[in-house]
Symmetry: D2
Subunit: 365 residues, 4 copies
């Protein structure tokens, strides 16, 4: 067995950073050695720098790591750097890391819309990582050093949406129209300050800043195709797929529920049974590659009338599996159904880990 | 000032019955004298029969009323009987009451789909009560006695949906396509057993039995027209209005939030400003009639990006006003917006009271 | 009828400030004219400065008041200034106001422990306001100008605790030992940031910084006596009353529940019936003075086995009444019972208003 | 390795029964073969009989087990029968099973107060199982057949309370006075109907029928001693330990929080550090016996000021570990602290499994 790859985490004291640390504990491929955080935390032991707020205990191995500032120099031995940085800091820091030749897998939104930055839901579009392969090949041919790169994790609500769409468009062609109303968990908003208790107890907040635009835009990138030379992603044009999102924050700790309706371009549409079969039989590429965190069952199609439910179903396949229920015909578009995904796993830190596993399986790191 | 009309309540110990009693306390038009409940409760003082679960105290006047069985004879002096009966009992009891010449305003679903039974959201379609007027006229002409009748209150999620649609179809013509995803409060499910705590805490239940069908069907009746002779309601045909509902139960005590999208038949559609103006300026007929419970402002169009919210906005106009927010263009249909209504007021007992006030204003009782 | 007294509010944009404004709307004795907030808000109309988060709409009268900085000069026409300032600012600002001859009723903790500052739960110890009377008399005799003063509102969890204790100690003598475990609502923590949603959903936080010490200390001041010359309050000595508090934050929006046990110094203790009668018959001095906000029933002793409950009972007497239930013998001390009080009314802004009404009734303002 | 012992579950479709099934999945010592439920379920496959409501999926092995009625004959090959029956049925059924020579580990309350029935918190008083050993010895000597017996699991709130008390009384002698206020999760109330959502959302219910009496009584049995001949348990007399409980239901899914105060008989009491050390170093007998489910750390003494919290700490040691925090001196008794335990694990089904593991380790089954 090969030695584990050394990895690091940026924004290690934040909510996404804490999740990266948990998911990297006892990971078979990666060894977490470098933790970066703000200058306020740098120089302290991690256990003293962090306000740990996870349901699992702070792993022993992480306690005594001395937190460093987010400078590329400190991460130079890392095969991958996972970034849980806030958008306010991610822009410049991730750029510095990339320019220093490092591989960054980022949960921040800053570079998601760059055409040469893969925006990845690892159970959906790992083929977009070929952009990285192309960069590596080009550098090798040019005889220049190994280039750094950034891969972006999608927005959490987008991840849940596109997972079941992928096998559907593969099997039945383009989805022309799509509406999605989300009921999103509060863990997605982080800790500081996150969603205030008085704002969400016995309440719904029918607005999440920027979220609807992200879902509408990112969906068309993730389901888009690579350019011929594998150097960029070409978003689905608006006329091939129009998406409308309505995003709500609900009093749920983890797990985004999405009520979606959609219409295929090709008519007549498939049957309900074909639809369900397509999702049920979908095996994501990460599973085929044997990645450690890949879900055994990518999409769970549930037949009980009142499922999926976040409290009961969010942890399928350790949060890497997506649950779909109530698949039925829609009087307005073709079909409607309910999708549930774990926002901090497949929608954030967990996706980052699986992306890195795929990068490793493809020898891109 | 005229004497108050004597009224009664069926199903008086249940959750809807308790709300009827509260709303009838110190009512200027009605005096509640008769409380009907199951044989188990009959013969007891109301205070001893009820498990009172309201935020207001059990009104003094009701405490010592001796509960009667749900037999028409006991209610014969009532100008109106409000029914909060469960569907299991409402069918036969309400029929008996009607046949005994009584006026019944019912929250039960049993007779909602009868063509000659008005299905009323009092801030939307009180004109459908002309069916009652026509019955009374016909009886008078025929010299037969005053006929009994049933008026049905709509389903709670339907009430919130149709309220803002009414001024829109009045102003801009038919709505051809409509999708609605609801986030419904648990108070709508009653007490026994209602929604279990363990099912709804930190959770969403993406299913409410029969609810989606009710919303899709009732909307087309409420927005339908009277037949020429005012004897029946003609539902909007499916091709004039296709409705698709997705209903969810959420951990909110009171107040249904609905995320809706819709497309007008007439194109191009109105502007956003026209849309908002139409809703803001809508004055319901009950307000024009001067009914006691009618909302001062029927529809509140909110401009803050994160409103309406159930905890903050459900009590507008004592729960008789409906709040609309986030009115914006929709990439798939024409517009999308968020609607909030108080499910136990305009969606249940409160609607019944306002219907009775309208019946009184029209001299139908 | 006399003209209303002009009043002002400090910290007007915060959660306590917003509650002061609501409670002063259409108040028969007071007219709110001056709103003070941070320099960031000063100069703006209140409607533009505030992030209004109340279940009632922002009152019309307040919308166009131009917010001023918290300088005494701007409040000089105010008979009373209500302070909802954070402790970080209250110390210096309230001192300046007092020195400028203004009457300040403050929700901040800064001056609560000064021996010549009355710490008031208005339904419990308004007689401590005689300290103010003594100051006014002294100034009059000395021929100096009307002196300013500060009156402090108690901590919210203390208010609920001492309310039922007052008639008990009046009737049955000192309470020697008292334990209280609180289940406190999140509204008490304010908005910015307040309690985070992810910290309190499906959770209990068994700690509120400083709260236990406040309860243990303030209880002994509020139940203490005036010095002979009415110039200071003498706390109950520790040996006359030992209090132990355990404070928890729970997922409840409004209403503090407290499970208390206590032992009287005089043995044998009263009977259960005497205990309940004493609380039920207690009429607070504010009610006797005819104050507008005084509760009709100060303490509601409930006989149902599962009451009081915050959602059902917190609004008794508009939140000025305290509910007590489950009064029973205690195997360890003498008695145990459950107390419920509305933390933002009798435990914060509401108490301030009632204190001012008492000051007015006593001609101290 | 020995063959696994065959076991059965009574009340298999209920909430406790479902938990037994999950905990017996892939258990190294036990093989679950027989599922008993009501006549309504008997004859059906388990998957068709149950309304499965767990966060883990229904285990494959259980799906096709045909449910049987709760008759001893059907369970005769079982080394242990776990009972999750409701109290209404447990009395007669468990008696029948015992008389048929079966070993029953029951979560029902029916036999807890029998002097010859061990009432066991497996991390606290497994030595009380010697009553079973004594019965077996006696039968062997008498040459009669292997006798059946019942072992009772304690009430969930009692389990959390006694866990930290055990090392304290072992180290420092009797606890003379103890007060406990509980904040109990709703999962303890089961499904049908359990706690209603509308009763617990944004609310506290300060009453759980019978619970306080159970805590006060059971604590004195569990901490009591065996009689000289090991045939019965002798409760601690009231004068050696007086317990006062106040029980509340709170909006938490799993995990009971208890705020306790206590006073030792021996004065002066130990120091805070001695107290914490005693709890931290406690190793339960089940761990020494090497039982599969025994917690690695029986009691986790937490030093952070705001812990334990149910959402963060309830799953320590898979729910078999108990967390204690805020250990501090108490102005009224000697000490106060907060205890958190997982009510469905150490307080119900999980305790039953660990009891059976201990019975096996002691060769009592």
């Amino acid at each position: 067995m090969c030695a584990k790859k050394v990895v690091g985490v940026l924004g290690a004291t934040g909510s996404v950073g804490q999740r990266f640390i948990l998911l990297l504990t006892d990971h078979p491929d990666f060894e977490l050695k470098v933790l970066g955080a703000s200058p306020r935390s740098a120089g302290k032991k991690y256990v003293d720098a962090v306000n740990w707020k996870q349901t699992e205990l702070l792993p022993e191995f992480a306690k005594n790591i001395v937190v460093t500032e987010c400078k590329a120099e400190a991460f130079k031995e890392c095969a991958v750097v996972f970034s849980g940085l806030d958008a306010d800091y991610a822009g410049s820091i991730e750029k510095e890391f990339k320019e220093a030749g490092l591989a960054v897998v980022s949960n921040a939104k800053n570079y998601r819309r760059e055409v040469d930055v893969p925006l990845i839901v690892p159970i959906v579009n790992p083929e977009h990582l070929e952009i990285v392969g192309q960069k590596l090949d080009a550098a090798q041919k040019a005889g220049t050093g190994r280039p750094g790169f950034i891969v972006c994790i999608s927005n959490c609500s987008t991840a849940g949406l596109v997972a079941p769409l992928k096998p559907l468009v593969d099997s039945f062609g383009p989805i022309e129209l799509l509406t999605a109303t989300t009921l999103q968990a509060i863990s997605g908003a982080g800790f500081s300050p996150g969603v205030s208790g008085i704002d969400i107890l016995d309440n719904i907040v029918p607005y999440i800043g920027g979220e609807e635009d992200k879902m509408e835009w990112e969906t068309r990138k993730i389901l888009g195709a690579l350019s011929d030379d594998n150097s960029t992603v070409v978003n689905l044009p608006d006329e091939q797929m129009r998406v409308s999102a309505q995003c709500n924050r609900v009093p749920v700790s983890d797990g985004h529920t999405e009520c979606i309706s959609f219409k295929f371009k090709n008519q007549p549409p498939p049957s309900l049974e074909q639809l369900k079969k397509s999702m049920n039989e979908y095996v994501c590429a990460a599973a085929k590659l044997g990645c450690y965190s890949a879900p055994k069952q990518t999409i769970h199609v549930l037949e009980q009338s009142d499922r999926p439910q976040p409290r009961l179903d969010r942890n399928r396949d350790n949060g890497y599996g997506v649950s779909v229920g109530r698949v039925r015909e829609d009087p307005v578009l073709d079909f409607k159904m309910v999708v549930l995904s774990h926002n901090t796993v497949i929608g954030a830190a967990g996706a980052g880990i699986l992306i890195a596993e795929i990068l490793l399986a493809k020898n891109f790191i």
